[in-house]
Symmetry: none
Subunit: 200 residues, 4 copies
DNA sequence: GATGAATGAGTGTTCATTCAT
DNA sequence: TATGAATGAACACTCATTCAT
């Protein structure tokens, strides 16, 4: 792994532990084993390190969107199993990805001064999941898979618990991914049982 | 208003905008119109300012707990209206209180290094609402008001959307309280319609 | 005891522990139980407190000089016992006086910036004892009590060990006055045995 | 001379004039001609500067111990000249070394709060000289060079005047090394004449 | 006699950054 | 590629002192 990559790795880890501002260039260099001035050969400034991480995050997240769209394209026809599988995939392959998890922590932690980070957080963890889910549920209702209801309210009912559980996981020191996963699965199953049309 | 109070007010505002660490004593003094050294007449150090705000937050929050317990004691007997009223009161009289709102923003923003603040956030916005709601729903199910279900999952289904909407409100610059309120009411009503026993 | 006296007492104790500069007005007030501004009713400024202590020190020290002169006026005629008694008196009634001891510590500790304190220290613990002893020994030699020798060298041989022992006592935490006293008595006896005329 | 060395030099000079606490980083930088932040490239903090000086002091002092042990190994056989030469060497090559002298002044001056410095002072200027001299005299008495006497008392009689003269030299502004040297030589000669065995 | 409130000057220290090598 | 050396701007905090009450 080259130095640039090592810097990114160290920065990701430190930013996600202490926050972007609280983690200093010194900290990063100590971890990588280079001198502070060397960082500036690889990055224009501290912010550029964060930007590089951010780019990677966006790329990964957009990859996910593609995947999610595909995965849910087949949902309409479907059983409880495939419904649950989609939620599970979102959590296990996206949210619980080491990089995504770490960057998400940075976003959560660093909601202060920084409008850019705030926007990113809002977009990927507050807005997009809801609009995506909204569209999907609208489809599922049309298809008669789910009971008729306000799509947005339904989307929130579906996503908010995931969001809540994720926050709790990230902010609880020593929390295990198992708990998060189990609670999320409980939620997904409960949701399906509650809202599927044929249940009545 | 005396100087001490002015300092607290300025600090609350600045901490909630930029975060505790990013907001400097200088910033606070500039806002209050005193010299930096004067702060130290009123507070032992920067942290003591935060502590004073925190104490106030805890006091208010504990006051709320008492109120919520009373309010929900009468719920068992009840109609949709009173069910919705409790949710509304929680949001309007607690979450949307200016002080609580500002302090909550501090807690959200400052989840980095600071174990104490992290614990406070976890307690008041992640854990307690769920345990409280859990107990309440367990009662409501016994009384036959709500359909039988796993209490914790139900509690999350009830609270997570509130939590989500609040975060969105706090992190969206220029967001109005009206939107938050409307979405929350939609959620509460949807929840009641979905889970009340007699609905079946 | 009135407040002024309490301030002096607290200052003496703190100055002698931490030094004049390192001990703050705050420290003193905390000890006395008054507010910092109150000090300025009793003293013009911090230095004035030290000055008051200094005045007291000089008074006591000058009282000693009178006593010492009287005590040694009768020495000429004398025995080992009375010779030893004078040294003993100097140590027990002067050097080991609580106030003198504390002030001496201040002088020792605070030999930095402060020319005035340095002068005081030099005068009372370096110069005067030697000139005094010098004169006395010159007399004792004339009278045939002590062997002929260079008075100043003799004075140093007599006083330097006292000075050394005193420093050691003051700078050794937990040192007891007993050790100082015993070592000093050994020294005085040894000195007498070595230099008295009739010993040969 | 590189910057690090210049900082040490400036610090040594300032610390020895005003004391460690009273001399500020700003003072040092002004003297060296660098900005305050630059100091922290070379030293972790203010204390580290003192520590570096201290290390150098200990190294020099321990070098002296080796030298002194060798020098006095040959004393037993010996004449007045060699006895005097050892004392002279101790003063001229150790005590009057510019660095040692300056650091000693720091130690003398800074006997307040600082237990570490107090311990250093005690060790090198109060305790070690006495224990060393004690052992040496014990040997010289065995060999029949010096008259029988209590070793410690003798050691104090030998060392205390040196200690006294050194203090006087350091605390007397404008004092010349010549005076110190002459007085010390008088003392050494007087000591030899008084205590050598064959003198009787 | 005492104090609440304020202040100016100063302290040691951290940080992101620059630039010649 | 990397670093040794430096720096300006900021930071939290301390201290002796003042003054109206």
């Amino acid at each position: 792994m080259d130095t640039r990559e090592k810097i990114l790795e160290a920065a990701l880890s430190l930013f996600s532990k202490k926050g972007y501002h609280a983690a200093s260039i010194r900290d990063i260099c100590r971890k990588v084993g280079i001198k502070e001035s060397s960082v500036y050969y690889h990055f224009a400034n501290k912010r550029a390190i964060l930007d590089a991480l951010q780019a990677r995050f966006i790329q990964k997240s957009e990859g996910l969107m593609v995947f999610m769209r595909q995965a849910s394209a087949q949902i309409a026809s479907i059983s409880k199993e495939s419904f649950l599988a989609v939620g599970d995939a979102y959590i296990q392959q996206y949210l619980l990805d080491d990089f995504i998890l770490a960057f998400l922590r940075i976003l959560m932690i660093e909601q202060g001064d920084d409008e850019a980070l705030r926007a990113l957080y809002r977009e990927w963890f507050l807005e997009r999941p809801i609009t995506f889910q909204s569209q999907l549920f609208s489809l599922l209702i049309e298809e008669g898979v789910l009971r008729a209801a306000d799509c947005r309210t339904l989307a929130i009912a579906y996503y908010a618990p995931v969001f809540y559980l994720l926050q709790r996981y990230l902010l609880t020191p020593g929390a295990g991914q198992d708990d998060l996963l189990r609670d999320a699965q409980l939620h997904f199953a409960h949701f399906w049982n509650t809202y599927q049309e044929r249940a009545t």
